[in-house]
């Protein structure tokens, strides 16, 4: 145990301890930056890799390296290039996406797909272990273990102490301590790091999913097709899905407001999928919280939160893998850059180098998707309008451009105006029908009361 702890101390620290007291430590940093990255998913692995490539000493702590995370497993196309993900990791290439409204109106969201473009589907365990291995190859130290607590420093150049329980077979199980200059909290929706530093809380949705192995013929239907189901029977504020995976489909749903009823919504999505998933066998059931918005404090002291721990999951689509990896990389680069420039990592520096750059690039996209969710997911009228509008080719093209390449490009003004007009028209028509439905319901209730 002591050997494990000692192995983690950087030997160089003892040599220059005399100069560590002044905050304006050497313009040339005498030793490499030490960062503990807590959590070995896409966010943590990308942060560790970015730090290691910049010459810092990164310790990547992961409590369950072999775990398979409950996740849709879809990533945008730009992630394959930006993160150099080998093509053979991709299980499926989804080129058709079908959206179904509460009245079962179906729209095929694939007419405007650019040639060669697709949505890659991967298994999380495959992706995560690839990213971790690459981080290790770049120089990060993989530490299998569970972080139990974080000792906060008293002064601006005092180290953080990361207490963990090691589960590595080589070092022997037992408690260990890491002494580091900064911490990256990449430990997901139930982040321990966030709790330790008091980053605040956020509302979460619950995503519930069953993996169902289908017979060959049924699986062929989902070969390159993913389905999204909308409706009050499937979710009051989100969507249900059938996503193809390597040899099975993932059928699931999610909700923010009605978590106790998630099982009912799951029956709802299975009923709606109907004969298409008939004869299947449930091989796994999984559930996980998904953050709905960022935490009140994403950077506290020299601790930065990334990925799900920070709350970077878009609303409306529930996408988080790309943003986790991207924020991890951005944070790692910001830390290393600040260290190289000033010899220290500070909260202000992290805010400028990481948070400011992140918000500038992605805040608009997150806000826009929040708006879409509020408008289109809340009642059946909105859902019907969404599906009607998705039949429009311009909408499909813009959606794919912004989803696959993560660029919110303003389209041509005439197209946008026409889109706005069509949106308003669809909303009005479906809203009117929604009100008619409510009126009929009221009448039926009155009739029943009169009869009773």
């Amino acid at each position: 145990m002591a050997a494990a702890a000692a192995a983690c101390y950087s030997p160089a620290r003892i040599a220059i301890s005399c100069s560590s007291s002044s905050s304006s430590a050497a313009s040339m940093p005498g030793r490499p930056l030490r960062v503990a990255v807590v959590g070995g998913g896409p966010a943590g692995a990308s942060a560790a890799e970015a730090l290691a490539l910049a010459g810092a000493r990164a310790f990547l702590l992961e409590r369950n390296p072999a775990g398979a995370k409950p996740c849709g497993g879809a990533i945008p196309l730009c992630m394959l290039d930006e993160f150099a993900i080998p093509r053979d990791l991709v299980d499926r290439r989804v080129t058709r996406m079908r959206i179904l409204s509460p009245s079962n109106l179906a729209t095929d969201f694939s007419r405007a797909l650019p040639p060669g473009a697709h949505i890659p589907m991967l298994r999380r365990e495959v992706l995560d272990s690839f990213l971790r291995r690459r981080a290790a190859d770049a120089g990060a130290a993989l530490v299998p273990g569970l972080v139990t607590s974080l000792s906060l420093p008293t002064g601006p150049s005092d180290p953080y102490l990361v207490h963990y329980i090691s589960s590595s077979s080589s070092e022997g199980t037992g408690r260990g301590v890491l002494e580091v200059d900064a911490v990256v909290g990449a430990d997901g929706a139930n982040s321990r790091v966030a709790r330790e530093v008091g980053a605040g809380d956020y509302t979460t949705a619950i995503a519930f999913q069953e993996r169902i192995r289908l017979p060959e013929a049924a699986m062929a239907y989902y070969d390159d097709l993913a389905e999204m189901y909308l409706g009050g029977d499937v979710s009051p504020d989100f969507y249900g899905w059938v996503f193809p995976k390597c040899d099975h489909v993932a059928v699931g749903t999610g909700t923010v407001a009605a978590k106790p009823e998630i099982k009912r919504f799951q029956s709802g999505i299975r009923a709606r999928a109907g004969a298409k998933i008939a004869g299947g066998r449930v091989v796994k059931v999984e559930a996980h919280p998904i953050p709905e918005h960022p935490r009140p404090r994403r950077v506290v002291g020299r601790v930065a939160l990334v990925g799900d721990a920070a709350g970077y999951v878009t609303r409306c689509s529930g996408e988080g893998i790309y943003f986790a990896a991207k924020s991890g990389r951005l944070c790692g680069q910001a830390m290393a850059e600040e260290w190289a420039r000033t010899g220290a990592v500070t909260e202000a520096g992290l805010r400028q180098g990481y948070l400011r750059r992140w918000d500038d690039e992605f805040l608009l996209m997150f806000r826009f998707l929040d708006l879409l969710q509020r408008v289109f997911y809340v009642g059946n009228a909105g859902r019907e309008a969404l599906v009607e509008m998705c039949a429009d080719e311009y909408v499909q093209r813009r959606s794919f451009e912004s989803y696959l390449y993560k660029q919110m490009v303003p389209g041509d003004p005439r197209g946008d105006l026409r889109l706005l007009w069509r949106t308003v028209a669809s909303m009005v028509r479906c809203g009117v029908l929604g009100r008619e439905v409510e009126r009929l319901r009221r009448l039926e209730l009155q009739a029943r009361e009169l009869r009773v």
Binding site: A271, G274, E444, R448
Partner: protein
């Protein structure tokens, strides 16, 4: 109208049965698909049977679903069928005018032209039915009806025009009173007011107010919308607000 709606209610029309059918079971689906999907029947036994036998609910959900979808389906199927037989099956949405996933407009003709009001009524009934009894999607019977088939003037005539008289009346009353009030305060007559920018702004506000705030409830819902739209933004900006207390943590 009451007669028309009652034909779409299931046989046991008492409120409690209807509620139970709606919240728990979708027995009609499973009966009609009984031949096709034994797996779903088993799940019906797991998930929907509790409608008839509440004590079974907690443990039935997960384990039988996992086991029964594979091997033990036959054992579950008879149980499921019994459960559904007790729960008065509800048929799928059926209407003589609904053909091939859309409304057959020829059947709505009245005096040579299509009676769009009847189409709107029929579609509203269909959506209400599906809200109460969601149906499994079927690739063979795909729905292709979308509301843009109904022309804009049909919507206008039915939903806007009846309200239009009331709204125009309100706008006229507000306008007259405001014109008088501004005249008594500033001495500008009506003609002078129409040339003034501030007065034109007031006019715009009055028209928008009459259009948006039609009932007392609209005020509350507008406030809620404003709160909700800014809530998300506030969460993102929160990290920038916390400058002074956070410094101490360094």
């Amino acid at each position: 109208m009451a007669m028309a709606t009652s034909t779409f209610s299931p046989r046991p029309a008492s409120p409690s049965t209807l509620k139970r059918l709606r919240t728990g079971a979708k027995p009609h689906l499973h009966l009609s698909f009984a031949r096709l999907c034994a797996g779903r029947l088993a799940r019906a036994a797991a998930g929907e049977a509790p409608v008839e036998a509440p004590p079974k609910q907690p443990d039935v959900d997960l384990s039988p679903a996992a086991a029964s979808n594979g091997a033990a389906v036959k054992a579950e199927a008879p149980v499921a069928v019994e459960a559904e037989a007790e729960a008065a099956p509800v048929p799928r949405f059926r209407d003589a005018r609904w053909l091939n996933g859309t409304w057959d407009l020829k059947q709505f003709e009245k005096g040579g032209a299509v009676d769009w009001d009847a189409v709107i009524d029929a579609e509203a009934r269909r959506r209400k039915w599906l809200e109460d009894y969601p149906e499994a999607t079927d690739t063979d019977e795909a729905v292709v009806f979308d509301t843009s088939i109904i022309p804009w003037w049909a919507w206008m005539k039915r939903f806007h025009l009846p309200e239009a008289e009331k709204l125009n009346g309100r706008a006229a009353m507000v306008g007259f009173f405001m014109a008088y009030f501004v005249d008594s305060l500033t001495g500008m007559g009506l003609v002078d007011q129409t040339g003034n920018f501030f007065c034109k702004t007031l006019l715009f506000v009055a028209v928008a107010g009459v259009l948006l705030i039609r009932k007392n409830e609209d005020l509350e819902s507008l406030k809620k919308i404003i709160d909700e739209t800014t809530f998300y933004d506030k969460q993102w900006q929160a990290t920038w607000q916390e400058d002074s207390p956070a410094e101490r943590k360094k």
